[in-house]
């Protein structure tokens, strides 16, 4: 909207930018560029309270977050989730007895929990994928996972297209934590294949699991190799976005987080005693105690920071604004819905329908006429053919009759001659030969 002002003032404001004045003269739409007009306030208006209002509304509604964990079994996925959210979301796994058939396909299981902290309610859903990478033949093991993610997108798309859209439930997967085995080498083929299939549909966060088997140099090497592999295959993992007007501290934090990707994590929901007597969350080995919450020991703190404390909302936004929109665009294009430029055309749906129906009927009628014509043609042809063969038959009939007559006369002649006693050519007998043709 153009803002008309009588006295363009040179603007100097606390923000430090010199905005150009918009010299408007009532013309609309002819200026190509609207320079930003920053005004200084004379007294306190009060809209700086907006974030608080948003805050109150969000608190009322509560938040919801869906994370998916993918990785071979035994990499510590359940433990890490328990550690991240400090709740025993996953009970210790029941190992099936030996010989029990463990199924052939990847299953998708999801667990939900409502947790609360300082009055903020979070509905956390974790989607687990048991069986991924565990079989002898893991072809297409990513397919059930991709199908599940797309199904959630579809569900949301459907909700958006409903008549009553007041209660939108967001079940889309906001983050996918992919667990890499701590081999120290590069990614395995199954890792690469999976990431390639999923990086456009979900925020991928690769983590190196069970990082307590790696020494410091191995961790650094491992990360470098994993990143090289990811770059080589063009896989897009989740990068915390950088904004211009953030403060120094946040920018530095962000940089630190980005520098540690992929995170080398260790999970533990047990409390152990560290060498200097403190009770910490960690794992106790004969040669030392690794503390999960210690930044020097592993990257768990950074992962938690990114996932929960600073970038949860980013993940949701990214899922909604980019991943979901891309999916929606592709899907609608595939369905043949084209972009309609004239949005506010006066379309009377009934007239449109009648028009369509008329078109359709015309088409049908045309088809009918065509078919009739073809039918007629064929009938004629057949008639002609039949007539021809009829005539032929008649002709032959006549011929044969004549031939027969002739034979008969012949035979009678011979009979008379035989009766009159005159010998002639050897007896032919009185057999009337009706042989039609030979």
């Amino acid at each position: 909207m153009q803002y008309q002002q009588q006295q363009p003032q040179p603007v100097e404001d606390g923000l430090g930018t010199s905005g150009g004045t918009s010299g408007v003269n009532g013309h609309s739409g002819t200026q190509p560029v609207n320079p930003i007009n920053r005004k200084k306030l004379a007294s306190w208006v009060g809209f700086s309270n907006l974030p608080n209002q948003v805050h109150r509304r969000s608190m009322r509604r509560g938040f919801n977050f869906t994370a998916m964990v993918v990785g071979e079994s035994g990499l510590g996925k359940s433990t890490l989730i328990n550690t991240l959210f400090e709740t025993k979301l996953y009970e210790p796994k029941q190992i099936p007895a030996p010989g029990v058939d463990r199924g052939r396909t990847v299953q998708i299981e999801s667990i939900s929990a409502d947790i609360e902290e300082n009055g903020v309610r979070l509905k956390l859903t974790v989607v687990d994928t048991p069986g991924f990478g565990d079989f002898v033949n893991n072809d297409e093991s990513w397919r059930p996972i991709v199908d599940n993610i797309e199904a959630r997108f579809d569900a949301y798309l459907e909700q958006e297209n409903r008549v009553n859209r007041l209660k939108l439930v967001d079940n889309r997967v906001h983050a996918c934590i992919y667990f890499i085995q701590p081999t120290g080498h590069s990614l395995k083929p199954i890792d690469i294949e999976f990431m390639r299939r999923l990086h456009t549909k979900v925020n991928l966060i690769p983590v190196i699991a069970k990082a307590d088997t790696l020494t410091e140099e191995e961790v650094v090497l491992s990360k470098r190799r994993v990143l090289a592999d990811i770059a080589h295959h063009g896989i897009r993992i989740f990068q915390p976005p950088q904004y211009e007007n953030e403060d120094e501290e946040t920018i530095q934090e962000n940089e630190e987080i980005i520098s540690k990707v992929p995170f080398a994590v260790v999970g533990s929901d047990n409390i152990v005693r560290s060498p200097n007597g403190r009770e910490v969350r960690g794992r106790a080995y004969p040669w030392g105690v690794i503390e999960v919450d210690n930044e020097e020991h592993c990257d768990f703190v950074k992962l938690r920071q990114m996932l929960v404390r600073t970038h949860m909302e980013e993940l949701r936004e990214h899922t909604n604004d980019i991943l979901y929109e891309n999916y929606r665009t592709d899907k609608l294009k595939a369905m043949g819905v084209s972009q309609d430029e004239s949005v506010f055309k006066e379309t009377n749906p009934a007239a449109k329908q009648a028009e369509e129906r008329a078109l359709h009927e015309a088409k049908l009628a045309k088809m009918e006429a065509e078919m009739k014509m073809v039918f007629q043609q064929k009938v004629q042809e057949k008639e002609q053919k039949l007539k021809q063969s009829e005539e032929e038959l008649y002709a032959r009939h006549r011929e044969m009759k004549e031939a027969l007559e002739k034979q008969r006369l012949d035979l009678e002649d011979k009979k008379r001659r035989v009766e009159s006693g005159r010998p002639l050519t050897p007896e032919k007998g009185t057999k009337k030969r009706f042989g039609i043709g030979k």
Binding site: P98, F135, N138, P182, T183, S186, K188, G288, V289
Partner: protein, 318 residues
Amino acid sequence: MTPNAPIEVQAGSYVGFDTITRQIEHKLLKRGFQFNVMVVGQTGLGKSTLINTLFASHLVESKGRIEPEAVSPSTTEIHAQSHIISENGVKLKLNIIDTPGYGDLINNEGCWDPIIKHIKDQHSAYLRKELTAMRDRYIPDTRVHCCLFFINPTGHTLKPIDIVVLKKLTDVVNVVPVIAKADSMTLEERALFKERIMAELQHHQVRLYPFDAEENDDEELQLNQRIRSMLPFAVVGSERNVVIDGKSVRGRKNRWGVINVEDERHCEFVYLRNFLTRTHLQDLIETTAQIHYETFRSKQLLALKESSAKQQQQSAPA
């Protein structure tokens, strides 16, 4: 007429045939010993490092994929590397057979076939050399004496591919299962994991080395029992030295602790090494020759006899 059982006699004075052991030793020392070991396991489990640690020398290079452009190797590239290490005048010719690419692909169906084929090929080559009319004096023994099977330290249980491969391997070679990278499990997790693995193996009736023979005396039987109770060995390998209490030992150093590979409280590397080299080395070679090779040989010869009998039958009526 059955021969009478030999009667034990005590010689009157010292004869001197007890030096036969030294004569044999002398001969054998000149010839040297041959030991072939195969390592089977997924990439990144520390197989090459463990071999280097076991024999305290840099014998094999790690074959992991390092560059993104490199292609993962496939198991068809099985080859043996030969080394000769000597200690106190005893020469050991070591053949290390690595199996890169096992279990690394997305579809691992049949990835164990090249491995089994390789083992059988060695038996087959030896049999052929044995059966020729003009045999060499000492047939070079390339038969696989021991197969170290590396298990992924998941903490849960064996993977389906491991079970399939173990079943096939134990039929043709001595298999010693090993839990790789055991520094990722605490002691309780380790004990639980071992229990589950042994239960699983027993359920599938997989026969693990060491086997008990009748001629073993009590001491050996006890030793075997102890070894069996420790299977699978939870090991950590390292070629690099770290300093613990002023001493330089092989180990791994983290920010939060130092693992000493040779410390029994940390991992079971010492037991594995003693088992392989100090107590059961000769037994491994013998078992391969007497049990696995004999089974293979009898099957082959029977099959040969059958096929030649069939051929005779076919050619007789004609």
